[in-house]
């Protein structure tokens, strides 16, 4: 079943220099396992291909039902150097929530995941 992250997670993002971070948080604690399994480092790197120049790092925070991604080279130099509207990476968060993942039907049913509209 196709699931869109905006239906199962919330998120906030910020910056450190030319790196944007995106913390993505499961809306229900039981959905964290879905984020952990399907929102992989390479999947996120593919999602943002063309929008960032550098690598992606991923960290797990199961205590907060959250993952943290670092998107390097995302901010056109960052800070005052950047010419971007989103020079501080504030809305990379919702850009990540556009991602659609493919969850096996049995797992999606068991976890009562909402299907992508």
């Amino acid at each position: 079943m196709k699931v869109r992250l905006v239906d199962i997670a919330h998120a906030r993002s910020g910056d450190k220099g030319d790196t944007a971070n995106v913390g993505v948080i499961a809306l229900e604690p039981r959905w964290y396992s879905v984020l952990d399994e399907f929102v992989t480092r390479s999947r996120v790197a593919d999602h943002f291909r063309g929008m960032i120049d550098g690598d992606v790092d991923r960290f797990e925070l199961p205590n907060l039902n959250a993952l943290n991604f670092l998107l390097h080279g995302a901010l056109d130099g960052g800070g005052t150097l950047s010419l971007k509207t989103d020079a501080q990476g504030k809305v990379f968060s919702t850009a990540l929530l556009r991602m659609v993942i493919d969850v096996p039907d049995a797992e999606a049913t068991r976890l009562q995941l909402p299907a992508a509209k």
């Binding site: 919330h10 998120a11 906030r12 993002s13 910020g14 910056d15 450190k16 220099g17 030319d18 790196t19 971070n21 913390g23 948080i25 809306l27 999602h47 063309g50 929008m51 790092d57 960290f59 797990e60 925070l61 199961p62 205590n63 907060l64 039902n65 959250a66 943290n68 670092l70 056109d76 130099g77 960052g78 800070g79 005052t80 150097l81 010419l83 971007k84 509207t85 989103d86 809305v91 968060s93 919702t94 850009a95 556009r98």
Partner: protein
Amino acid sequence: METGEPLSAVRDRVLSANAYIGSEPIVEALGKGANVVITGRSTDTALTMAPIRHEFGWGATSWDQLAAGIVAGHIIECGAQCSGGNCLYDWRSIPDLANVGYPLVEAKPDGTFVVTKHPNTGGRVSVQTITEQLVYEMGDPHSYITPDVIADFTTIKLAPDGENRVLVSGIKGKPPTDKLKVSVAYRAGFKAVGTLVYAWPDALEKAQLADRVLRERLDRLGLRFERILSEFVGASATHGHLAGDQSNAPEVQLRFGVRGSDRAAVERFTREIAPLVLNGPPSVTGFAGGRPKVEEIVAYWPALIDKSVVRTKVDLIQ
């Protein structure tokens, strides 16, 4: 700090340099009876941790308690961003943002604390609002490095504790590094950003043509920049290609920026926006603000310095 490039690359353009100091001098000042403490460039988190440490007499090696104070500081350092402001979770239901309540920390000697806000204020304190703030500007959650302690954000436990109250516990810390972070500010040239708005039909296509025309004009004028960035606000400025097809957008703003070391070239660019209204693609508006402003860029160069060479001093004013 991140690139390994030596400071000599910008040394002759440096305007200021400030080491981020930790809680020690603030605790010392409070210990001497200060009612108000004016610090140099302290970390944001030390502003919260220091008075808690002073009150409970935590030692310089009480790593778990110090880390808890740092986490408390991280949660409230952006004010209402932990109490309903900029909160995506269930944002429509967050009450009375016009009177949003700023956060309060009720600290306990064991390092646990409750985050809440004043009664009769708007906003919300919940596990979700706190979690969003915890992940804000986060790097490696295992190592949130401060001058006082390294806090491990993967040990934080959050639990509801009544209306607009969240209990925070379980936090572990470990000894800090022997470095301090330094914020160096240096002159990095000039920039200017111009905008024009194109209306339906074919708003995006018109804005894209204007972008090409503008680039050709700059090229013909022989203007060279370190960076040119064009964005299409309303179509792809924030979400890029992820936003999908926006060819039917009601309006699209062309946002065109240049950056370079030659002030005259940046200045000349600012005179190329207005002519596009009469000389470029149709259905254009939004130029009433006049010519874009040239800004000098003061950029940020993060670096590390040995703690041993930074000395702090506390003066008490009676």
